[in-house]
């Protein structure tokens, strides 16, 4: 893919991202209730003080001007102050981000390593018992409400079998000893040789990651199966057979390499939808990430944080979809951008 084409595609993102920022801004601007009153809460302030806060926040300015101030600040990753934490919103978000990213990546890995082989097998053994079970399983996977499935897993593995912890990211004693380097607990504990902490972190992440990854697994499996079925009918598979290649090579190299094109594209897009699932899953499993923070912030009316997080999620989502596009063209030697 040529660099100019890449830049052109990046430029096409600009209007979308601007539109997204407008919507996020309007969401906030239309919020009932006066942010200053929320900030003040129970404190005693004079009307003059209140007036000054209003001016400091720029709330006396016209809407359009306020939007551009918001946009300018957002571009510098400045989202104002979190009323609740009394710290900059961006600091609070950055603090919570690694946990969310770690969980999301884990969910993605689980989805990819289970969905692709299962999808390939379902396609190869089309209409077999295995294929039918896989099809039913994937229907179940997209129909299961994540928050409920998470609770079921908790009741089974944490409460009944007492195998896994109920909530959190790592037990306190390990949390203290592992020094943050990458801020990904699994990696940090591993590179510091704290295997007990690693095992503990793994035990904490496994249920939330499975819950989060389940719909993606289901969808990817279907996509892989459909793509494989189509690819297996292609002439080049017949030609590969005519060449006398062995079945494994035909399946995993000739067929899968082509079937992966749609699969990986969908995977990148579905990773975007994991972002929304984060809020649910982190709430269910008490995972100390951004998603749970957002949900909590809504109830304490910590709107600047909600606004920043919604914007961040949306921008990530747009970029992931863009990445999916790029991946499609990179993987597919036929398509030249």
């Amino acid at each position: 893919m040529s660099v100019t084409r890449l830049i052109e595609r990046l430029l096409q993102l600009v209007p979308v991202l601007l539109g997204v920022s407008v919507i996020v801004f309007v969401m906030m601007a239309l919020t009932p209730g006066d942010p200053v009153e929320i900030m003040i809460g129970d404190q005693l302030v004079t009307p003059e003080q209140e007036e000054r806060m209003r001016r400091d926040l720029g709330l006396d300015r016209p809407m359009v001007e306020r939007y551009f101030v918001f946009l300018g600040n957002a571009l510098q990753f400045d989202f104002g102050t979190s009323f609740y934490h009394r710290r900059p919103v961006s600091d609070v978000i950055i603090e919570r981000l690694p946990a969310t990213i770690e969980l999301t990546l884990m969910a993605m890995i689980i989805a990819l390593v289970t969905a692709i082989p299962l999808g390939v097998l379902a396609a190869v053994k089309k209409n077999s018992i295995f294929d039918r079970i896989a099809t039913v399983g994937s229907l179940l996977g997209v129909s299961l409400p994540g928050f409920w499935f998470g609770i079921l897993l908790l009741m089974l593995f944490a409460v009944q079998l007492n195998l896994l912890p109920v909530a959190g990211r790592v037990a306190y004693e390990h949390g203290v000893t592992v020094r943050p380097i990458t801020h990904f607990l699994l990696i940090d504990s591993l590179i510091q040789g704290q295997f007990a902490a690693f095992r503990n972190a793994l035990a904490h992440i496994i249920l939330p990651a499975i819950t989060l990854g389940l719909p993606m697994t289901a969808i990817l499996m279907r996509v892989t199966r459909t793509a494989m079925l189509e690819v297996l009918r292609a002439d080049y598979i017949t030609f590969a057979e005519a060449k006398g290649l062995n079945r494994q090579r035909i399946l995993w190299r000739h067929a899968l390499k082509n079937a992966l094109i749609p699969t990986v594209t969908v995977a990148a897009m579905e990773t975007g939808s994991l972002l929304g699932g984060n809020m649910i899953v982190e709430t269910v499993f008490g995972w100390p990430g951004l998603g749970r923070l957002v949900v909590e912030s809504i109830f304490v009316r910590n709107y600047p944080l909600v606004q920043a997080a919604v914007l961040l999620y949306a921008v990530t989502y747009v970029l992931l979809n863009f990445l999916a596009d790029i991946l499609y063209t990179v993987l597919n030697p036929r398509v030249k951008l």
């Binding site: 080049y236 030609f239 060449k243 006398g244 062995n246 030697p333």
Partner: protein
């Protein structure tokens, strides 16, 4: 006389479909002698491609070979295990397909697609390590050079879509020939190409056949191609062979009305001014065919006596025809 390279006897290949059992190939006999080029002609649906897909063991469900023997160098391929058959495919019998654009894997480089053929079959390669890789690369370059790809060294790492249609066809032939097969089945090798390149590709096949001493089966619907390149020809219709013989004889004096129809339907410079007459009607549905001449519905010479099973009969040296209108030759 030497043993034929390929001898197919009484082959019947069927497909179980929702509409019923389609008998795509019904009692076909084919013989290919070492070093010869056999032309196989017929409309689409005549069973010519299915016949040779059966020979290659490439029939997939819902299709299956129901009856017949496929003797390659005296060995019945139908009795081989899947592994043994895998070794025959590509090494002993290779195949090219109609459209190289769809037959070459779009996601693998041309080099990979040649190399894996050598990997699978070539026992003369060094056992392992960089020597093996070098040898494979050298062979791949040699093969691309053989089929006339300029600067083959640089083009190994390119993908099929980066080549022109004619070049892709040559690459497919290079792959098929990489393990020096004894029989090449070329299924409509020129249909997807334009006329000037058609001639080049066919000459290439002729040339390599002469050099490697292999046999070629040329599946085509173009009698002109057969006339120029094949020693013998069989004509297929609705899953059966209807005429067989030396090319010159069959084209010079066709005995089956269908062969005559095919000849009349191609434009030939020699017959300029004469109208081209397409054969009226269509190939019948191959489901539950009554035991009678399958061409009779379209045949200008059909009569009530055609409504019974018609056998192949000898009508000359090496010539057979499936029509009762042709007097059988008395004795050899």
């Amino acid at each position: 006389m030497s043993r034929p390279l390929l001898q197919v006897r009484g082959l019947r290949t069927v497909f179980d479909t929702r509409a019923g059992r389609v008998c795509a190939v019904d009692g076909v006999d084919v013989t290919v002698e070492p070093g010869e080029c056999l032309g196989v002609v017929g409309e689409s649906g005549s069973g010519k491609s299915v016949t040779f897909a059966s020979v290659m063991g490439l029939i997939r469900p819902p299709g299956r070979i129901e009856a017949g023997e496929i003797l390659f160098d005296g060995v019945d391929l139908r009795q081989l295990s899947r592994r043994q058959m895998q070794a025959v495919r590509g090494r002993d019998i290779a195949m090219t397909m109609q459209d190289a654009l769809t037959a070459l894997n779009p996601a693998l480089t041309v080099g990979t697609q040649i190399a894996e053929m050598l990997e699978a079959h070539d026992d003369e390669l060094p056992r392992g390590g960089p020597a093996r890789a070098r040898a494979i690369r050298a062979r791949a370059v040699e093969m691309l050079g053989l089929v006339g790809i300029p600067s083959p060294d640089d083009r190994l790492k390119q993908y099929p879509h980066e080549f022109s249609g004619g070049m892709r066809q040559r690459i497919m032939i290079a792959i098929a020939l990489a393990s020096k097969p004894r029989l090449l089945i070329a299924d409509e090798p020129t249909t997807a190409l334009d006329v000037t390149i058609q001639a080049q590709v066919l000459e290439l096949i002729d040339d390599i056949r002469a050099r490697l001493g292999m046999s070629v089966v040329l599946i085509t619907h173009d009698l002109g191609v057969v006339a120029q390149h094949c020693d013998r020809v069989i004509v297929m219709y609705a899953g059966q062979v209807v005429e067989e013989g030396p090319t010159a004889a069959v084209i010079g004096s066709p005995r089956h009305p269908y062969t005559r129809g095919l000849l009349a339907s191609i434009p030939r410079p020699a017959l300029r001014g004469q109208p081209i007459r397409p054969i009226e009607g269509q190939v019948p549905e191959l489901i539950d065919l009554p035991p009678q001449c399958r061409f009779h519905a379209r045949c200008p010479e059909a009569g009530p006596d055609c409504l019974r099973p018609i056998e192949m009969r000898r009508v000359g040296p090496g010539r057979q025809v499936r029509c009762i209108r042709t007097p059988a030759e008395a004795g050899p």
